[in-house]
């Protein structure tokens, strides 16, 4: 399957949902299968029709198995640092504006360029000494919600060189960087 990336370039991707996404889907399907299994059991004990509930449990369990098989065969493995659900839905309280993007660019150039590079490609001077290497922000930022990006900037990313910036930058400054990163990925800078 061909997927169009943010900058308009096309790349060949084996499967449109990542292993992690398929694992999420499989968990939801297994929960559904368990609900149907309980319903089937309850109906059976009450001497009511239970076969369709049992078949439904089987179908959901089968789909969960298919999701996992796809996840560990054809789907790309894209591990994402965990983010609390509440942080995932966080939004910048201030509306977007060119001045905020400009402020974000200045903060980015002062604090982030060393590792992430001038154009966010993960190719700053220090990048080549780091394992894992910094991600390409132009590719990765649009794949995530602003709340996720804000969380990673604030808290850092475990087991990488990415530090948390919440003690060094204010909330407003970190949101400005988030605004700048989305603008950078969209080619609006």
């Amino acid at each position: 399957m061909v997927v169009v990336l943010a900058q308009g370039e096309a790349t060949a991707v084996t499967f449109p949902i990542s292993r992690q996404g398929l694992e999420q889907i499989a968990i939801a399907l297994v929960v559904g299968a368990a609900v149907f299994a309980l319903v089937a059991l309850w109906r059976h004990r009450r001497r009511r029709t239970w076969r369709r509930a049992a078949i439904s449990a089987g179908i959901l369990a089968g789909l969960a198995a298919v999701a996992l098989v796809l996840g560990y065969t054809v789907a790309p493995n894209i591990p994402t640092p965990p983010v609390p659900v509440t942080a995932r839905f966080a939004q910048d309280p201030v509306p977007d504006a060119p001045e905020r993007i400009a402020a974000g660019r200045e903060l980015y150039q002062r604090n982030c360029v060393v590792c992430h590079g001038a154009h966010g490609r993960g190719d700053g001077p220090a990048a080549f000494t780091l394992r894992p290497r910094p991600v390409d922000l132009v590719v990765h930022t649009p794949q995530h919600a602003p709340g996720e990006v804000f969380y990673w900037i604030s808290e850092g990313i475990p087991n990488t060189a990415m530090p948390g910036w919440k003690d060094r930058l204010t909330d407003a400054q970190r949101w400005q960087i988030v605004r700048f990163l989305y603008a950078l990925a969209a080619g609006r800078t």
Binding site: S18, G21, Q24, G32, R52, L63, I78, Q143, A145, E148
Partner: protein, 39 residues
Amino acid sequence: MIVGHVLAGPLDALVELGLPLLVFAGLWWWSSRKERRRP
């Protein structure tokens, strides 16, 4: 995670939960319909 910049964050989660929920709802509707008695 849906690959390819189509969806991000909350929307992505909505699809990951929404797809199984849709299948679940369909099966729930089907299983709660009255089964025809066999002659």
